[in-house]
């Protein structure tokens, strides 16, 4: 079983709750997951405004050669895999934070790319299995930043791909509600939750998101959120209940217009039928 926290730290949220506390909570969750069963696997991806990066497992570390110069072996008797994982994650996050500069005021994060990379990774792991073995995967997104509206189409493609592969997408939202993630969780069958108290992030992660899908049916979990599936019209970006859809490019409009602005096809307008009055037959004069 593999689990992927997909972390989106772009802005620290408040003075009490900083990125390092958030990462601590995520690492606790990751350790708990790996400790549950020996065959559980974990991958952590950080997603920021300029790209996404695999924190664990990282390319520069191959986990199999335990050997000789293992500097990370801690003396307190902790399970080596967990301590190695923690150290790696911390190091990679430090690398990222020093490398990227936050330019401008962009507070949105490019989540669709990270989800796509996660799906490719899961796909690769599934292909590498022996015949007859199964792996059940899910993706957990811990999100503090806001949605990026430009990403709608890519996001939907990624969600449908995840649904086809039976991969659940869970979402743990720290700051503002995200409509895209609500739709993702609803379509794939995962859990969406907005955390009321951010200081207790570790608790929520362990209580709600640690059990897998079979165990969830036996627990009493937060009720599903009401998802707004109304479409936004292309002209004003308002949510509409009844709209007009172009049959060629499927763009949605709130008012009838003779030309589609996306694909520039001219539409036929149904004119009311003109009924010709019937000519009365004139009686032939005798």
């Amino acid at each position: 079983m593999s689990l992927m926290p997909n972390n989106a730290p772009c802005t620290p949220v408040s003075a009490q709750f900083t990125l390092s506390k958030c990462m601590d909570a995520v690492m606790v969750m990751g350790n708990a997951h790996m400790a549950m069963a020996r065959t559980n696997k974990l991958a952590v991806i950080a997603s920021h405004c300029q790209g996404s990066h695999f924190l664990y497992p990282s390319k520069s570390w191959s986990g199999e050669d335990g050997g000789g110069n293992d500097v990370s072996s801690s003396g307190d008797g902790k399970y080596e895999l967990l301590s190695a994982a923690n150290n790696l994650i911390v190091e990679e996050i430090r690398n990222i934070m020093s490398k990227i500069e936050v330019t401008g005021n962009s507070t949105d994060t490019l989540l669709a790319g990270s989800l796509a990379k996660a799906l490719c990774y899961i796909h690769r792991l599934t292909k590498e299995l022996e015949v007859g073995q199964e792996i059940k995967s899910r993706i957990l997104v811990v999100k503090a930043a806001e949605d990026c509206a430009l990403q709608y189409m890519n996001f939907m493609n990624v969600i449908f791909a995840a649904q086809k592969q039976n991969i659940l997408i869970d979402a743990c939202v720290l700051d503002s509600d995200s409509g895209l993630l609500q739709q993702a969780c609803d379509i794939t069958g995962g859990l969406y939750m907005k955390i009321p108290q951010k200081v207790a992030l570790a608790q929520y992660l362990l209580w709600v998101f640690l059990p897998d899908s079979e165990q969830r049916s036996q627990l009493v979990l937060p009720p599903p959120a009401h998802v707004d599936y109304r479409a936004a019209c292309f002209c004003h970006r308002n949510l509409i209940e009844i709209g007009y859809v172009c049959s060629v490019c499927l763009s949605i409009f709130c008012n009838f217009s003779p030309i589609c602005t996306t694909c520039e096809t001219a539409f036929k307008i149904q004119l009311p039928q003109i009924v010709k009055p019937k000519k009365k037959k004139l009686k032939q004069p005798m």
């Binding site: 990774y121 890519n154 599936y229 499927l250 949605i252």
Partner: protein, 392 residues
Amino acid sequence: MDEEPERAKRWEGGYERTWEVLKEDESGSLKATVEEILYQSKRKRVIESHGQVRLGMMRHVYVVIDCSRSMEDQDLKPNRLTSTLKLMEVFVDEYFDQNPISQVGIITTKNKRAEKLTDLAGNPKKHITALKKAVDTVCVGEPSLYNSLNLAIQTLKHMPGHTSREILIILSSLTTCDPANIYELIKTLKSLKVRVSVIGLSAEVRVCTVLTRETGGSYHVILDESHFKELLMIHIKPPPASSSSECSLIRMGFPQHTIASVTDQDAKPSFSMSHLDSSSGPGLSLGGYLCPQCHATYTELPVECKVCGLTLVSAPHLARSFHHLFPLQAFVESPVENLQGDRFCQACQAELKDKSMFSCPSCHSVFCVECDLFIHESLHCCPCCIYCQTVP
């Protein structure tokens, strides 16, 4: 009839020496050749997209299944009929996955008659239950192409002009018993802009060749069961729209899903309108999808409101079809040696072991063969391009 392109038949060609494809290497093993063949077959799966061609997104497809005596033949295991019906279930599922706002109907033909198994509907469950029940039908008599096409036309001619009208025939018999001149019917099909495609299970039949050529469809004969599946899957992609199909704005509703609990004061249980036809009896439910025009309740989407006639869909249904309209470009193949530095696939973080790698033309990131296939078949978006693309 008009002149037909003369294609050389397979038996008219030269003698094929198929054993020459396999070559042994120095140690006598065939491993390299087998891997090469597998690699080529993987690459074949990434088909070229149509490009900037208008597609028929809202489709009305009638599938005609031949249930005549030749379907009891056991060359497809356990017999042709069972194998066809099973593949049809897969087809229906995939079809509604790729074309969520389209409709499918099923017609069977045997004993010189044709009858409708299911009507044109947008809900896959009805079709799948009907297909499961049809496994027990007795295959008898001869099929009738004329009657089945006629039956399909009765409904298709009333469909609005902006939809694409298609008929897919799965014909196993080499004969057909028609009450009137089928060439007249072909002319009618052409005038109604119906596209007919045929999948033959036995051999090529001339009347099918003419039928598909005149109406603009495709005609294939299967080689074995996996080829049958491939041919069926070709028909799932939306076809290019004919130049004469009208484009119009279709009025659609986007209902909200209401979940009410018993403790709400305003919540009143209601019958779902979609259960009016079903035999399982009406069920009272609290909440569901409310039609924005007449407030009738429905349990599932997409559906056409029975009260006011408005088509009800949800935004993800339309989003499912977007990847047909904005297809992903094919990636550029190049040998791995050209890459300096670390050789890692940027999507799955695996080391690049194959002899070639694929790079996206816009963002130049590098992917391995497996990721390339996965991206083109399921994801439909490049994981690294997302940072520089502005999308509608």
